[in-house]
């Protein structure tokens, strides 16, 4: 830990005058993955508040940790829905297999295990997340696999800034029919086929299923910047969600991600690269 660095963080928040203690602590935790004792002392000294106050806040919120955390964070949901679906037993199994108690970190500093109350995907419970990746309907046999994956590293999916490219399998969020077209490949993977309409033209379009790739194949060439309406080819429902593209403001097109659960959203404007992956479950 670098004391100078902590001072900078506090200065960044105008010495804690305007912004609250919580945001300062959040920033420190984001940097160091925990709150070092020395850091709390510096925060107290710089903000002119007493150490008890800072310590009180740091211990009050579960999001803060005073102990170093492992590289990977495994959170087992014990919210009401996951609880009745067997969350506590899944948590116990994680404790047993990783040989640590909830809230602790493995000796090799790889995995920190914690329990949380509701991760917002109750219908898919029991939910376990690893560094922000969701695992739904977790059963006993999968615990081992999840721990293994956590050690291998799933990395945090950083919405919008993530540059990596990986294939997804999507389905219509209304009828749950797969949108994958196994007969047409784009970028070497099965493509996603949907129906589109714009300016009184209706036709199919095939999108690359590689998250981060913008290759398309279409019946009618849509001019750049037109906002296109997307439909499910099976139930013909329009694929439209509540959110808007953060880049251009056009409506986002939601699609269900198969397997891990969650949503992928792409911008409906031709040529706009706005897209996001939201694995926080089906919030539709």
């Amino acid at each position: 830990m670098n004391p100078e660095h902590i001072r900078e963080i506090v200065d960044h928040h105008e010495g804690g005058k305007k912004a609250g203690i919580i945001s300062i602590l959040e920033d420190i935790q984001a940097q160091y993955s925990y709150l070092p004792e020395e850091a709390l002392r510096i925060v107290a000294e710089k903000t002119g508040r007493s150490l008890v106050d800072i310590y009180g806040v740091a211990t009050f919120y579960k999001a803060f940790s005073l102990k170093p955390r492992g590289k990977h964070l495994v959170s087992v949901c014990l919210g009401t829905a996951c609880h009745v679906r067997g969350g506590p037993r899944i948590a116990e199994e994680f404790e047993r297999q990783s040989e640590i108690k909830t809230g602790e970190t493995t000796k090799d500093r790889e995995i920190t295990l914690e329990t949380v109350n509701c991760l917002g995907a109750c219908a898919l419970g029991p939910i376990v997340t690893v560094d922000g990746h969701y695992f739904s309907n977790v059963t006993f046999p999968r615990v081992k696999e999840i721990i293994h994956k956590a050690r291998a590293g799933l990395d945090r999916v950083d919405i919008q800034t993530d540059e990596r490219i990986f294939p997804v399998e999507v389905a219509c969020p209304r009828c749950n029919h797969s949108l994958m077209d196994r007969h047409h490949y784009i970028d070497g993977y099965p493509s996603i086929r949907v129906t589109v309409s714009f300016r009184q033209k209706h036709g199919w379009v095939r999108l690359s299923c590689l998250y981060g790739s913008f290759s398309v194949d279409q019946e009618y060439e849509a001019p750049r910047d037109t906002v296109v309406n997307f439909f499910c080819p099976h139930c013909h429902a329009e694929l439209i969600g509540a959110s808007e593209c953060m880049t251009c403001g056009a409506p986002m097109v939601p699609m269900l991600v198969r397997g891990e659960g969650g949503m992928i959203q792409i911008c409906s404007r031709r040529g706009c690269k706005g897209h996001m992956l939201d694995l926080t479950g089906v919030n539709f």
Binding site: S50, L51, V52, D53, I54, Y55, G56, T59, F60
Partner: protein, 225 residues
């Protein structure tokens, strides 16, 4: 001036005083645990409950935090109030039976038994020590940590606090542990930490460096949890 009735007696009090102050001023006793003149009201122990309002609207409020209101009808010892206080005292007895303050209060309300799981906490989280340390001693050395079930009281990181000047005020006001570390009156001392009639810390002449908020206790090495 605000006029109200307390136990049927028409009285008037200055605006901003609390029901507790008003009741005591006119001679109606109200028991308290977390209240201390000179410290800000906190409303933690609920022992000071009184009943206000009429008929179906009657309700219990903590008098130490409730300001006088025009026309308010206050009852400081109605059967509902007494029942509530008895229950509160029973709960205190269940968590902190060794406290003389709590025992005395309980027996004054004729509570001689409690029906709950017996525990032996050494803190009822009344916050008196936190407030006296901050408001009167200007030290802010101790405070609450964590929350819910795990809420506890002490110095940051459970270390000897640099801000503490060992004035002893926190121990003096504590209703749960005031008999602990009464080293000025050694013959009365019963240590709350170790339930020892002659606390080992008394024999150490270097008591100055010690502080009861240490885990484990420096003198007896009993872990307080």
């Amino acid at each position: 001036m605000i006029s109200l009735t307390i136990n049927g007696l028409e009285v008037s009090m200055e605006e901003g005083t609390t029901l507790l102050e008003a009741s005591r001023f006119y001679g109606f006793p109200v028991p308290t645990l977390c209240h201390l003149d000179g410290l800000s009201p906190y409303g933690a122990c609920r022992l000071c409950v009184v009943e206000i309002g009429q008929g179906a609207n009657a309700k219990l409020v903590s008098s130490c935090t409730y300001p006088v209101e025009e026309g308010l009808r206050v009852r400081t010892a109605s059967s509902r109030v007494v029942k509530a206080r008895k229950m509160i005292l029973e709960l205190f007895l269940a968590s902190c039976p060794q406290s003389k303050t709590i025992q005395d209060l309980a027996s004054s309300y004729d509570v001689r038994q409690q029906r709950f799981k017996q525990e032996h906490e050494d803190c009822i989280l009344c916050g008196l020590c936190v407030r006296i340390c901050e408001e009167q001693m200007m030290a802010k050395a101790i405070g609450f940590r964590s929350r819910g079930e795990k809420r506890s009281l002490g110095a940051p990181f459970d270390l000897k606090s640099e801000a503490c000047r060992l004035c002893g005020a926190c121990m003096y006001v504590c209703p749960a542990c005031q008999l602990r570390c009464t080293y000025t009156e050694p013959d009365k001392a019963i240590c709350g930490g170790c339930a020892n009639l002659s606390p080992p810390c008394l024999e150490k002449n270097s008591f100055d460096d010690m502080m009861c908020y240490m885990e484990p206790c420096v003198a007896c090495e009993i872990k307080k949890d």
